[in-house]
Amino acid sequence: MACVSPDGKPTESGTKMLRALKSGLGSPEEIASHAGLPLFRVRSGLRDLTLAGLAVERLDRYEITDRGTALV
């Protein structure tokens, strides 16, 4: 996974996305703008964070989980 290292910790871009989620941003477009990352990286990264249990998707928006919050 590009946003989560094999040891389960978020990478630099993963951390940026988790921080954006923690601040209440939820759409890939908002997160890309806030984190200064290309939109394609954010869409792919949010899939990774969701698979790792660090974010959840609800109605096309994303939220940080308790596990995600504990890492940033």
Binding site: M1, P38, L39, R43, R47
Partner: protein, 216 residues
């Protein structure tokens, strides 16, 4: 009689929806859908750690900021592994100081290369030729370029095509031969005799009723 085993792949064409894919890249697993809403240049190269490809990657990295200004993303592809791509990208940076900022697909099973007709057996049965697919924000293929293994691509022309396509979309015009941004564009030809007569009165620079240009 020898059994014919050649597999025939349909090659995508201009105006068609770009074939969907999900692929391992140097920036993680990416889907074509991830690029929806942006222009995308999907390009293939024959192999990592080869001289012409290395010059091309330097050149693509050089125009990347200009492409980003135009809302365009770059995505490379070859049939090498992701480890090979990572090693090559790191080597390019160590040797030249140029960081490759865009992802590269590791298409080991040739799935994406086959879907896009990137392998031309007359050139090489194992490597992709130098293809460029320009895909618009609606994921339609707008331009296809093929270069042989021995000829590196022209970045000015790739930028020029992007400028021309975006000008066409924004203003509903065409662009003449060797057009550059800021030069006159071609007004679409009239469809009726009445429109042809009116066209000559509309203040355009007309060579004749079917060839009129204007400044934007």
């Amino acid at each position: 009689m020898e059994e014919l085993k050649e597999q025939v792949f349909r090659m995508p064409r201009i105006g068609e929806t770009a074939p969907a894919f999900e692929a391992v890249t140097t920036h993680g697993v990416l889907k074509l859908d991830d690029f929806k809403g942006s222009w995308l240049i999907l390009f293939s190269h024959p192999a990592d750690f080869t001289p012409v490809c290395t010059t091309e990657f330097m050149a693509f990295a050089e125009i990347y900021p200009e492409l980003r200004k135009r809302g365009v993303e770059l995505l490379g592809l070859s049939v090498d592994s992701v480890s090979s791509h990572i090693a090559w990208v790191r080597n390019c940076q160590e040797r030249t100081g140029v960081k490759i900022p865009f992802p590269i697909i590791a298409d080991l099973n040739k799935e994406v290369a086959s879907a896009y007709g990137m392998i031309h057996p007359g050139q090489s049965k194992t490597e992709t030729v130098r293809c460029v697919f320009i895909i618009d924000p609606n994921q339609k293929i707008r331009t296809i370029l093929y270069y042989p293994l021995t000829t590196g691509r022209n970045m000015d022309e790739i930028l020029r095509i992007i400028d021309a396509l975006q000008t066409t979309d924004k203003h509903g015009v065409a662009t003449p031969a060797n057009w550059r941004p800021g030069e006159k564009v071609v007004v679409p030809p009239p469809n009726t005799q009445e429109m042809a007569e009116e066209r000559l009165q509309q203040g355009y620079e007309c060579t004749d009723w079917y060839l009129c240009k204007k400044k934007l």
